[in-house]
């Protein structure tokens, strides 16, 4: 089942960023997230943080890893509340082990709808994160995995503008 979804997503995991550069979701990260796609009627929402590299001499970004739901997270059919501390310690661990090159890039979660759209609550949450989180870049990325499609948004720290990203053809 997951294989089928990966194939459907194939070649559609490189997005153009708002300004310049591209963002790519590497296979491992994609595979990990797609295990949580809410295909069965009783599957609960899942989510976590996105981790990856700011590529040297470019504006390109690669999502290498995702942190998956922790037992302290609260999950229901239509809601996912990520625990701050457990995910943070994972972020620090990845950062340390990579010499400061594997960094926090944003958030992902699932939706039980085929073509995912962020709810007003999602938008609010993303803007709050853009304001409150401490991160060494100008923007963060937000991914929602629907049952048939994955979509990605980029949110700018300064303006709090959030834009859906187009896939690279």
């Amino acid at each position: 089942m997951w294989e089928r979804i990966i194939i459907k997503y194939h070649n559609k995991y490189v997005f153009r960023r708002i300004d310049t550069g591209r963002i790519k979701i590497n296979k491992m990260a994609l595979l990990t997230m797609s295990k949580f796609i809410q295909l069965s009627p009783d599957a609960t929402e899942a989510g976590g943080v996105l981790l990856g590299r700011f590529i040297l001499d470019s504006d390109d970004i690669v999502i290498d890893n995702v942190i998956i739901p922790h037992k302290k997270d609260r999950r229901s059919r239509h809601c996912f509340i990520r625990d701050k501390h457990s995910h943070h310690s994972e972020i620090v661990r990845y950062w340390k082990e990579s010499n400061g090159t594997c960094n926090y890039l944003g958030e992902w979660h699932t939706h039980p709808e085929s073509l995912p759209e962020p709810s007003p609550k999602d938008i609010c949450n993303w803007k709050r994160i853009l304001r409150q989180a401490v991160f060494d870049s100008e923007s963060l990325f937000f991914i929602i995995l629907g049952t048939k499609q994955l979509k990605a948004w980029e949110g700018l720290r300064e303006s709090l503008e959030i834009k859906l990203l187009a896939t690279e053809i």
Partner: protein, 342 residues
């Protein structure tokens, strides 16, 4: 576009081999001293010069471990005075017995040195008649048992060829990229073709092809006004141009083949791909197409690690795949908030 220029430059540093290489110089000196001492008094005076890829700064380390050194000998004589094979015989006689294997080949005399029973390098000595009434230079061709029509003096101008390659492109940085691109393609050839016979194109064929079809490619940084050379793009464009130069030929029997013809810019103006059979040239073209696909795929790849994995399949293990942390900027650690989505 994945930026893999650093990886290409590292690759070049790993594979390049030039005249500065100590071992090669040393071995060349030994052969030349031997020749000086033992050459027949019948032979006229000669002057030697380094030729081949090292003299053109396009030499690479051999994958097989067998290094080759090319030495040209300009004999101070007109071609009419001596049969070409007799002139080669002077060189052969002086060096015969010096190593286990000294042989007269059609274009040269080859002295092979072995280490632990395996050939470790060979010296190809090419004999020229360099003082002719017509002002031209002639290369001695043929082996002692060749048919008479295969023993002849062939017009040649090796020093001019070296000069043309060494002065190709006016600017030093352009020339440096030209040489790097040739070396990449030569290593690719060594990786992708079985050695022996004419199944693979020769190094000089690839070098002269680059003179016709390779153009330097770089970006100019608008702040510093410095050039940022892009070897991946330069090689890709070169291969694209080279593939476009293949021309369809229809044989009398109706069969069709696409062939490449690239002539050496000095006498004897030979087509450097002429010795490859139709099948060999078709294989060469297919491999070039695979190389082009890989270069395009690597260029489109966002992740430099994955781009290098694609390139390593073409250029072999000397093309290094960097660990992830070498490809990314170092940042300070993030502190996240909680997150609640719906």
């Amino acid at each position: 576009m994945a930026n893999v220029q650093k990886q290409f430059i590292d690759f070049h540093e790993t594979i390049k081999l030039d005249n500065e290489n100590e071992t090669l110089r040393e071995k060349r000196e030994i052969v030349l001293n031997k020749l000086k001492k033992k050459i027949s008094p019948d032979a006229p005076p000669y002057e030697w010069f380094g030729q081949g890829s090292y003299s053109m700064s396009t030499g690479i380390k051999p994958l097989t471990g067998e290094y080759d050194i090319d030495v040209g000998l300009f004999f101070d004589m007109p071609k009419e005075n001596t049969e070409p094979v007799s002139a080669k015989q002077w060189v052969f006689d002086a060096l015969n017995g010096h190593t286990e294997s000294v042989i007269i080949k059609t274009p040269c005399v080859t002295v092979t040195y072995k280490e632990n029973g395996q050939p470790s390098f060979h010296v190809d000595l090419t004999v020229y008649a360099a003082k002719n009434a017509d002002g031209k230079i002639y290369l001695a061709k043929g082996r002692p048992n060749s048919a008479l029509e295969n023993k002849f003096w062939e017009p040649s101008d090796p020093k001019e060829l070296i000069r043309l390659v060494n002065t190709h492109f006016d600017e030093a940085d352009d020339r440096a990229q030209f040489r790097r691109v040739i070396r990449y393609l030569k290593r690719w050839k060594d990786e992708k073709f079985q050695s022996g016979g004419h199944s693979a194109p020769t190094g000089i064929a690839l070098t002269v092809s680059a003179m016709s079809y390779m153009r330097p490619i770089y970006l100019v940084d608008s702040f510093t006004n410095k050039r940022k050379y892009d070897d991946l793009s330069a090689l890709k464009t070169f291969i694209k141009n080279l593939l476009n130069a293949f021309k369809l030929i229809i044989r009398i029997d109706g069969s069709q083949v696409e062939r490449l013809e690239v002539r050496v810019p000095t006498p004897n103006y030979d087509d450097l791909f002429a010795k490859m059979t139709d099948n060999q040239i078709t294989t060469f073209k297919n491999k070039l197409e695979n190389l082009l696909d890989a270069l395009e795929e690597a260029e489109a790849e966002v992740d430099p690690v994955e781009a290098c994995e694609i390139l390593q399949k073409q250029f072999g293990n000397d093309f290094r795949v960097p660990p992830k942390d070498e490809t990314a900027k170092q940042k300070s650690v993030a502190v996240t908030t909680g997150s609640s989505s719906a």
